[in-house]
């Protein structure tokens, strides 16, 4: 097993070998999760705290389920409601929780880099569940696992990522991961939703969706936030759907066996046609959700192994 990291803060610092190790372990958890008794003792006795400074249903549920299936004691904290209102800083909150001896801290935060800051201050394993516009590593890993299972490989694929790239941490983590695994990545979207400097990322950039989708093996749609519509970044929802919404006609440009992905939650009729999203021959959106639990189990399992090894090395009681 070649996974040496203390924290999972982003894809940027993972090596291809580490990514493969993690995906391989995830496969075994996919099998576990399909059994009647979905339980392992990998995290038995450990405490996992989920700190979400941004509203989340699916990611938080996925992490909670992952922890519980591995036997951890899981606590969910919804941070908007509590100390932030009282003016406590992120570091103070972190130190307070740290004093309760958690073993895994899962955090989502609206500021890029906030999870890195937390990781410097606590002595447990930290998992980034999304920080600002920076990274969302477990999403990229679950996407990778979904692609590998559907396509039989995770290299030399033409992968189109479409939509609001500029504000998307999912896009950043995916671009990094897919690049590391030697795929050809294309970004498709209106220029107002493309990050500046994107030309230097080693990707191809398209503002014509049909051209961008041509021959693609994987079509990854991104969610368009409501607040970005209505004239701020794009003229209107209907113009966006016309130019960048995925429908059968545009998908016909992609490879005949191309799969369709979406990190959810979907805006049907904005970035993706509803019928297409439900087409079990093309859409792997439900698989992504399933892989999400398995990948998070694998990530926390590996981090916990490294944590225990480090504590043993340092002579801390375990």
């Amino acid at each position: 097993m070649s996974f040496g990291a203390t924290h999972l803060l982003g894809i940027e610092t993972l090596s291809p070998a580490e990514i493969v190790s993690l995906l391989d372990l995830s496969e075994s958890y996919v099998n576990l999760n399909r059994r009647d008794v979905k339980h392992s003792e990998a995290l038995a006795g450990l405490t996992q705290i989920n700190m979400f400074f941004e509203a989340s249903t699916r990611t938080q549920a996925s992490f909670e389920l992952a922890g519980k299936r591995l036997g951890a004691d899981v606590m969910n904290l919804t941070m908007q409601a509590s100390s932030i209102r009282k003016g406590e800083t992120l570091i103070d909150t972190a130190m307070t929780l740290n004093a309760m001896h958690p073993d895994l801290l899962v955090m989502r935060h609206p500021n890029s880099g906030a999870v890195n800051l937390l990781a410097e201050k606590v002595n447990c394993a930290v998992v980034n569940a999304g920080d600002g516009r920076h990274e969302h590593p477990t999403q990229a890993l679950l996407d990778a696992l979904t692609i590998r299972r559907a396509k039989g490989r995770l290299h030399r694929l033409r992968i189109a990522i479409c939509g609001d790239i500029a504000h998307s941490r999912v896009a950043r983590s995916n671009i990094l991961l897919l690049g590391k695994m030697e795929n050809r990545v294309r970004l498709i979207g209106p220029p107002t939703l493309m990050p500046s400097g994107v030309a230097d990322w080693g990707v191809e950039v398209f503002s014509d969706m049909r051209a961008g989708l041509e021959g693609a093996d994987v079509v990854m749609m991104l969610r368009l936030q409501k607040e970005r519509m209505d004239g701020a970044f794009i003229p209107s929802e209907r113009e966006y759907y016309h130019r960048f919404g995925l429908d059968a006609a545009k998908l016909a440009m992609a490879a005949p066996d191309a799969i369709v992905m979406h990190p959810g939650p979907m805006n049907r009729g904005v970035e993706i046609d509803g019928t297409l999203a439900d087409d079990i021959n093309r859409s792997v959106i439900q698989d992504q959700v399933e892989m999400g639990v398995a990948v998070r189990m694998a990530a926390m399992d590996l981090l916990a192994r490294n944590l225990r090894a480090a504590r043993q090395r340092d002579g801390v009681m375990v």
């Binding site: 940027e12 500021n111 890029s112 880099g113 600002g132 516009r133 500029a166 500046s196 400097g197 994107v198």
Partner: protein, 426 residues
């Protein structure tokens, strides 16, 4: 009469653009002709071949009085300045409250004179509370000692207000210091747009915003004929505009912070908030263009842009962390990086650190010529050290150079011929 002779120094003369070995005489706090001295009565300071230069005149240094004395006081800033070779600090008015009335200015001046061992000259706000709506009492404030007027990083966005301020300031020959930046484009930005900011997911501003801000300012300067100094020009695009404005005869000068000359956007690395400054650090191409502009004289002034911040305001996610870095004690060793890299010679460096800022403010300092005040520093440009931020004299320790290998030690600092740093306690 008190006389001092600095013996056997490498004299850095930014006006003559020379470094010559010899003596320098000081009589009653001013530089004198060597032959005017009766050596028998004079105090002799043996410089042993080290470098003697005019003290640094630092335009745009923040001392956090009034309002945030826990971040920096006149006493701590003054000690830091003396140790850093800064003999004149020109303070910013972005305090709490802003220095926008003669009464606040008098308070500041009194505090400064009591506590700081170096010269302190205040810049006053340009508009009340730096809110960009009503101009301050420019006349009264000038009489009370304000050397320039500036709203600092709060850009006066209203063109009508700014043009009236410039017109009124022109009638009093007052210098207006502005922060050239388009305030709408740069709102909320923590980095310069480009590959690095995008990968790190940081809200970013295009470097074009600086050029747009400068374009606006220069148009109004052309209209009003005001005396104008851009506090920091940090991008190649803006420099082209500055060059044209100077060529057309406008009374315009520009500065740059030491951080924009010696660091680039990549130094932020893993969200290191001590590298968060305003405007944000730029690309390496822009940094090199700025170094060349200092060498050619297009950029007139190097400033510390000393901005003390306490630990709490920096121990936050990058977007939310406060901007600014302390630099009074690092401005010289950081600037000497450019000297050691062969990019700027010592007379050029001190032209930008001492001579030009003094001349822009109408001061006699910044020169080694007879008659100039004996504001001097003796330094060893080669002495290496590793900076430990907790050794800084500033109350705030937010330096991006913590742990950095630097070269250049100040051995002694004199203000009006009086030693304020060095000797026994150096």
């Amino acid at each position: 009469m008190t006389a001092t002779v600095f013996r056997d120094a490498q004299r850095v003369d930014p006006v003559a653009a020379t470094v010559t070995r010899g003596d320098l005489a000081v009589v009653d706090g001013a530089i004198a002709e060597a032959r005017a001295i009766d050596l028998a009565d004079a105090e002799i300071i043996d410089c042993a071949g080290k470098f003697l230069a005019p003290g640094i005149v630092d335009i745009g240094c923040k001392v956090s009085e009034p309002g945030e004395r826990h971040k920096e006081s006149f006493r701590s800033a003054g000690r830091a300045a003396a140790a850093g070779g800064v003999t004149t600090i020109v303070t910013r008015p972005d305090t709490q409250p802003a220095i926008d009335t003669p009464e606040v200015l008098e308070f500041v001046t009194r505090r400064a004179n009591e506590d700081a061992p170096v010269h302190v000259l205040p810049i006053a706000a340009l508009t009340k509370a730096r809110a960009g709506r009503e101009m301050v009492e420019i006349g009264f404030l000038k009489d009370a000692g304000a050397v320039a007027f500036s709203d600092c990083d709060a850009v006066v966005a209203d063109n009508k207000v700014f043009s009236r301020c410039l017109t009124y300031a022109k009638s009093l020959e007052a210098l207006v210091v502005a922060h050239p930046q388009d305030p709408v484009l740069s709102a909320g930005a923590a980095a310069t747009s480009g590959k690095f900011a995008a990968l790190k997911g940081l809200p970013a501003v295009s470097p074009v915003a600086e050029r747009m801000g400068l374009d606006r300012d220069l148009a109004l300067v052309e209209m009003t004929g005001a005396r104008y100094h851009a506090d920091q020009l940090t991008t190649a695009r803006a420099l082209a505009r500055l060059e044209r404005a100077k060529a057309s005869g406008l009374d315009v000068t520009a500065g740059i912070s030491i951080h924009h000359l010696t660091l680039n956007e990549l130094d932020v690395g893993d969200y290191r908030t001590f590298f968060k400054v305003k405007p944000p650090l730029r690309s390496e191409e822009d940094r090199i263009a700025c170094v060349e502009a200092v060498a050619s004289g297009l950029i007139d002034v190097i400033s510390s842009m000393h901005t003390p911040q306490d630990e709490e305001s920096k121990r936050l996610p990058f977007e939310e962390a406060a901007s600014g870095a302390v630099a009074l004690e690092t401005v010289l060793p950081a600037a000497l990086r450019l000297y050691h890299a062969g990019q700027l010679d010592l007379p050029t460096l001190f032209r930008a650190l001492s001579t030009n800022p003094a001349a822009r403010l109408g001061l006699k300092a910044g020169r080694l010529a007879p008659g100039a005040p004996a504001d001097l520093i003796l330094f060893d440009p080669d002495a290496p050290f590793v900076l430990d931020r907790f050794t800084l004299r500033s109350k705030s320790k937010n330096t991006p150079f913590d742990g950095a290998r630097l070269q250049g030690r100040v051995l002694g600092t004199w203000v009006d011929g009086r030693r304020v740093f060095g000797g026994e306690d150096a």
